[in-house]
């Protein structure tokens, strides 16, 4: 069937239901929107996009409990990671990757985070999500979306619960409130891609002029100040241009997306670091982010799950404090309370994978079309260890990543993961990382 005929049939269907009034109706998922192999959108002929996300948790995983015993494609899932068992063949577990300080001071609960997210232990380099969103975020309303389960400062020295940084000064701040995130993505400025009617919103046209006029006086302003301030002002204007790009996109009729449905508006929930509160908020936030993927509002998400300040109701000590203070249980051979937190964290990571897998896109799911990069700040948190940082890569990346592998590294930098990810996502990266963490070797076992 030709596309034009499809469109005419849709209109007839609507008019038949609702008389001849022009209304917006969310259409059900119709496979006729997709081309025959289910991999492209019929209306535009463009490929269904590959998405990327980071999922960060603080305080690592105790070495010896999470790494599969044997490397390779037939690895056995450890008991400690059992919540990931349903996704065994669609995740890659990377063990034995290290962070090198190269003489820089160790910033606890942060150097490792920076190494995994930006390839350096300092604060200068852009984080991996900004590199990827720079490439794939141009056609979505939000270049990326950041969320965290709480504003509470964790163990780290970072002041904002976000790994997403454009440079040392420019941080993409997270949203911690599900209701606020809902309003931001699906509130008054959202346009349902499947809505039959589209009229450019005149308020948005005014907004476009408002933003554009901000730059009129830019040159005169820049002449008045010193170099550092000029850079800050430049960053301000760059951010304005980014929002202009957003408004421009909203003034154009979006292509229909069969997998896009509206999420339910969440109720106000309490915020905090108590574990049930955190998992409730996490579930609400990832639900919104997954819907944002399905509705192509963004193709990059960043979830900062915890900085280490989780605590169980009735327990005076937090996860982080326990990693330092809890003695090794004589019978078990490890810190029992800490192990509970680690498994809780993995439960929540599994919840993200499940949420992504729950959205069908053609004959595949959103998880098949996404690459999730999960990582932590330390290996053994008890001693702020920077070796054997747990890294898990999940999803199919649109067919570009092979799953089901455990790769056991020895003396290799964590940047091997980030480099591989960038190349999978289409970034033309000859190498990544600074100092002795600089690498140009992808992890070939997982590249399709």
């Amino acid at each position: 069937m030709r596309i034009a005929t499809k469109l005419a049939n849709r209109r007839k269907v609507l008019k038949g239901i609702l008389g001849s009034a022009v209304v917006t109706v969310a259409l059900p998922m119709l496979d006729c929107f997709l081309t025959s192999n289910g991999n492209a959108l019929a209306a535009t002929g463009s490929e269904i996009p590959v998405r990327f996300g980071t999922w960060y948790w603080g305080c690592g995983l105790r070495p010896g409990r999470w790494e599969p015993v044997k490397p390779g494609a037939g690895y056995e899932m450890r008991e400690h990671l059992r919540s990931l068992a349903p996704f065994k063949d669609r995740i890659n577990i990377l063990s034995g990757l290290d962070v090198s300080l190269d003489g820089n001071p160790a910033r606890v609960h942060w150097s490792g985070t920076r190494a995994c997210s930006a390839g350096e232990v300092l604060d200068n380099a852009p984080s991996i999500d900004t590199i990827i969103s720079g490439l794939i975020g141009n056609s979505t309303r939000f270049r990326s979306l950041e969320a965290s389960t709480s504003e509470a400062k964790g163990a780290a020295a970072n002041t904002v619960n976000s790994i997403s940084r454009i440079n040392s000064a420019l941080i993409n701040p997270p949203e911690a409130s599900p209701t606020a995130l809902y309003t931001r993505i699906f509130g008054p400025e959202f346009h349902d891609p499947n809505a039959a009617e589209f009229r450019p919103n005149p308020n948005l046209m005014v907004k476009k002029s408002v933003l554009s006029a901000i730059k009129e006086d830019a040159d005169a302003l820049k002449r008045q100040i010193g170099a550092n301030d000029r850079q800050r002002l430049d960053e301000y204007f760059t951010s304005v241009r980014e929002i202009e790009r957003q408004v421009d996109l909203q003034l154009v009729k979006p292509a229909p997306l069969p997998s896009c449905t509206m999420p339910t508006q969440p109720h106000e929930t309490p915020e905090g670091t108590e574990v049930d509160t955190v998992s409730t908020n996490h579930a609400l936030l990832i639900n919104l982010l997954v819907h944002a993927f399905a509705c192509d509002q963004t193709r990059v998400l960043n979830m900062y799950f915890t900085g280490g300040e989780l605590h169980k109701s009735g327990d005076p000590t937090t996860h982080h404090t326990n990693t330092h203070e809890e003695p090794i249980d004589e019978r078990a051979g490890y810190q029992v309370k800490v192990a509970w937190y680690e498994e809780y964290i993995m439960d929540n990571f599994a919840a993200l994978l499940k949420a992504l897998d729950g959205v069908k896109e053609g004959d595949k799911t959103l998880l098949d079309r996404t690459l999730i990069y999960a990582f932590s700040d330390h290996g053994l948190a008890q001693s702020h260890g920077l070796q054997n940082i747990p890294i898990i890569l999940a999803g199919g990346a649109g067919g570009r990543m092979k799953g089901g592998n455990h790769i056991a590294f020895r003396g290799e930098p964590v940047t091997r993961a980030g480099l591989t990810i960038q190349r999978i996502m289409g970034v033309n990266a000859e190498s990544w990382g600074t100092g002795s963490m600089k690498t140009s070797d992808s992890i070939s076992e997982i590249v399709a």
Binding site: P105, A106, V108, S111, E146, S150, E151, A152, A157, T159, V160, I166, A169, L170, N172, P173, A180, R184, P202, V206, K207, S209, V210, L211, A213, I214, E216, D217, A220, L221, R223, Q224, I225, G226, A227, N228, D229, R230, R232, L233, E235, Y236, S239, V240, E242, I243, Q246, E271, T273, E274, E309, H311, G314, D315, T317, H324, E325, Q382, S383, H384
Partner: protein, 550 residues
């Protein structure tokens, strides 16, 4: 001439600075030159959320709702006011500012407000060249930008208003577009500190009149200059010492001084930490985020009452027994209060009450500086050192040997003092912990939400403490030691000065604080209003070192 001046600055600083081509053009000599820009002191300071709101309320009225999510602020050297010179705005920030600007503008132009605030006849259709609209935009703009709009800026605004009115077919919508733009622009969101050359031979300048007016107004009122202060700037009166002093005294005498003082103490005491404070609700069911709000307010009321209303001695903040309570706070403190629900009533602790260390035994101090499930002598000790005594405590090293920390459920280590023994005896730990723990341990009778206790895990708490050689018992002893500590008064003077001028003190200023401001503060009985005046009238308040010349 520009070239010569720039080279003098570059050599005068003596430090390696990033040099990049800044300006290519003709100068007085008529030659084409490329001049590298001196880095200069930071001249752009992002308005804080409270400053944004206060400014909007001052200009458009307090019934305009200016609540909204704004980008996170940065704390530098202990103050958010210093961090404001470093903040940059990410795209999310622009999104938030644009949303808030639109929200404010929409209210200003709505039918409820437009006649009072704008007062132009709506009947005139789509041309915006009438004097009424022009007049409104110029007036509002001058107050928003804290200086008159340039002709270029006014033109931009009028063109935008015309465009907006054309799209939405509504003259007021056009005015709204202009307001939205101004509220999102760097001229509004940032405080611009423009220097004026004093002497081309030295590397000193001073703030121009408008910049000085802003610095003064944000210092004392936490808001933009009002019409009278702006006029004084415009007329040149602010550049005379009598004119300046008159405005300083006017601002100090105003009831709005309370807002400025509140903003200062909220910054100094780190009250923004309450936003993300979390307590274990099973262990501490009396805690809620509303209690956190009450706790902050109790301390701010106490401070304003003591320092402003009663013109009291700053040092008394550590021993004052008068406070203000809500029912919720009364429940945590275990005292009866006359406050009806959600109202405040004054309360005075008796002389024998263990809660006699002024703001140190307020919930706002002990709860803010604790863990979610238990108190923390180290965190409280560090807060006292850094927030109240201006003494920096180093961060813990990365390679701490935690095997030395004992089991918390060990029957021998039931109290915090016992558990922290290792901090005191292990040489690698003691260096820093001897600064914090002996101070903070004296507050152990107050748990993580601020309630009083005599035991922990069944063991009696020993709340003896020590501050720089002075030994004492319990919180009341700590309060007295803080009261008597010269570091405490020197610290508030230093921080208030830094807050006012927006940068950490340099060598010359430190000397001036020691030889000049400190003794004057003492002579004035450590009262806050004289201290504010001394700072506002100091030579450093308007100075700009190594300014960037246009």
């Amino acid at each position: 001439m520009y070239l010569a001046v720039a080279m003098l600055f570059a050599s005068a600083t003596g430090r390696a600075q990033s040099q990049e081509p800044f300006f290519t053009g003709t100068v007085h000599t008529g030659q084409s030159v490329s001049v590298t820009a001196p880095v200069g002191p930071p001249a752009l300071r992002l308005l804080t959320a409270s400053q944004y709101k206060a400014t909007v309320a001052d200009i458009f009225g307090s019934d305009i709702n200016a609540d909204g999510d704004l980008p996170p602020e940065i704390r530098k050297d202990g103050l958010l006011a210093l961090g404001s010179a470093q903040t940059t705005i990410a795209p999310t920030g622009i999104e938030e500012y644009a949303l808030l600007a639109h929200k404010v503008a929409a209210q200003v132009i709505d039918e409820k407000h437009r006649n009072n605030l704008i007062g132009c006849a709506p009947s005139v259709p789509l041309k915006i060249t009438d004097s009424c609209t022009k007049g409104f935009i110029a007036t509002a703009g001058r107050l928003l930008y804290r200086r008159p709009l340039t002709s270029g800026e006014l033109k931009t605004q009028l063109e935008l208003a015309q465009k907006g009115a054309g799209i939405l077919k509504d003259r007021y919508a056009g005015i709204g577009a202009s307001l939205t733009n101004m509220l999102s622009s760097p001229q509004f969101l940032y405080r611009w500190e423009n220097p004026r050359v004093i002497r081309s031979t030295s590397n000193e300048g001073e703030l121009d009149s408008y910049s000085a007016a802003q610095r003064l107004s944000f210092f004392l009122w936490n808001s933009a200059p009002d019409a009278e202060l702006l006029s004084a700037a415009q007329s040149g009166k602010l550049d005379t010492s009598s004119g300046w002093n008159r405005q300083v005294d006017r601002l100090l005498a105003s009831p709005r001084l309370e807002l400025g003082l509140r903003a200062y103490f909220e910054d100094m005491l780190g009250f923004d930490g309450f936003k993300s404070l979390s307590k274990d609700l099973v262990l501490y069911p009396k805690y809620s985020s509303i209690l956190g709000v009450d706790a902050k307010e109790e301390t701010l009321r106490t401070i304003i009452d003591l320092l402003l209303r009663n013109g009291g001695d700053y040092r008394d903040l550590f021993i004052v027994k008068d406070t203000f309570l809500t029912k919720r706070l009364g429940a945590v403190y275990g005292v009866p209060t006359e406050a009806a629900s959600d109202t405040w009533a004054p309360f005075k602790f008796s002389d024998r009450d263990p809660r006699g260390a002024g703001i140190l035994t307020h919930a706002s101090f002990v709860a803010l500086h604790s863990h979610p499930g238990r108190s923390s002598a180290t965190i409280r000790g560090r807060a006292i050192r850094e927030l109240l005594l201006c003494q920096k405590v180093p961060d813990p090293p990365g390679n701490v040997n935690f095997n030395l920390v004992q089991d918390t459920s060990n029957p021998l280590y039931r109290t915090a003092r016992q558990r922290l023994q290792v901090h005191a005896t292990e040489p690698m730990c003691a260096g820093c912990h001897k600064l914090t723990d002996p101070v903070g341990l004296s507050l152990e009778n107050f748990d993580t939400i601020g309630a009083h206790r005599t035991e922990e895990n069944g063991a009696v708490i020993d709340a003896s403490g020590q501050l720089d050689g002075v030994k004492f018992e319990g919180a009341n002893g700590l309060g007295k030691a803080m009261h008597d500590s010269p570091a405490a008064t020197a610290c508030v003077a230093e921080k208030l000065y830094e807050y006012g001028v927006g940068h950490s003190v340099n060598k010359a200023e430190r000397e001036w604080l020691k030889t000049n401001l400190g003794p004057s503060f003492e002579q004035e009985g450590y009262r806050i209003v004289p201290l504010l005046r001394l700072i506002a009238m100091s030579p450093g308040f308007r100075a700009v070192v190594n300014p960037v010349i246009r």
